[in-house]
Symmetry: C2
């Protein structure tokens, strides 16, 4: 096998990964990132976010040639026309995606070759909260369940360690379990 | 104007909305919903969620003929190939979408006709946390900023009240600001 091939594991360039970690250790100011989304209401429960630029490693990242556009909606029972997943479903997707990528990166760093990572997420909600019918149920999910099925060339114990480490490092798992301060300002015209 | 037209405001059928609220008040057990996502790792930072069925109002909702498929990724600087927005960006989208739909629904209920709702969200992150370089910065965003621009046929004070009420009722705003218990289980094979 060539050296170039050896550095790629689980689709992650581990040489580049370790170089990135070394660089950030040496220059912690490069670790300051800012991600962004802009959103525009279209009609009813239909709105669209545009995601492109972000600040990373000391400057504005302009490597994305095109913006991502993602549409949200609600199903008929929640008064929409199903123009996209609803916002709570997008939160489940964000959590699934972040835990999965964390598992894949941690495994790459620990020389574990994965063959599959699948997950099912459920979020239980009493919609009386969000609909304003009753103050007692919270607006969001009361609980979220995540079931992972992970396969790879490592003993079960090692695969479980990889998932545990991924939970400890996932950005979205941190935010969803611990919360984040959110400041909202409004202009009208 | 016809009565049928009068019931639609901001793209929301207000007659159906008030009927839904009355029904849930009378039968609170109908308010139990469960949303779901399944996710599959593809390669590197690329993974895909599939979102279709959900439990609502006493039974499984099967009105979605096709599943939504949404792809996540990471930009090159975070070792991906930009196969989609990253998970933290999806969380910003979920928050924007939920606040926006809440604003639109609250406005519809309060007889405010909106002409535009736009928002810009920013999330500041020190990536040393998520990359495991340093234990001090948290993994997720330290803070999220949301700037709304709202226009409609109501005085500024009323538009601001609509946004305030939407914050108090948004499912994703609740989850992101207060956190949710998340249980993760793992099977390996």
């Amino acid at each position: 096998m060539s050296t170039a091939t050896d550095t790629i594991r689980n689709g992650v360039d581990t040489e580049k990964m370790f170089a990135t970690l070394d660089l950030i250790k040496a220059q912690p100011e490069l670790a300051k990132f800012q991600f962004r989304a802009t959103n525009r209401w279209i009609d009813g429960a239909h709105n669209r976010s545009t995601i492109q630029g972000f600040y990373a490693a000391g400057g504005e990242d302009t490597t994305r040639g095109e913006a991502f556009q993602i549409d949200a909606g609600e199903p008929a029972i929640l008064l929409g026309t199903d123009t996209g997943p609803n916002p709570a479903e997008y939160l489940l997707h964000a959590l699934a995606a972040c835990l999965t990528t964390s598992i894949v990166y941690v495994a790459a760093a620990r020389k574990v070759e994965l063959t599959s990572v699948e997950s099912t997420l459920t979020g239980d909600m009493d919609v009386r909260g969000a609909l304003g019918v009753d103050d007692e149920p919270r607006n969001g999910f009361e609980r979220i369940g995540v079931s992972f099925s992970v396969s790879g060339n490592a003993p079960e114990e090692k695969l479980r360690e990889v998932v545990e480490r991924a939970k400890k490092r996932s950005a979205v798992f941190d935010m969803v379990t611990n919360g984040v301060p959110v400041a909202v300002d409004v202009t009208t015209d």
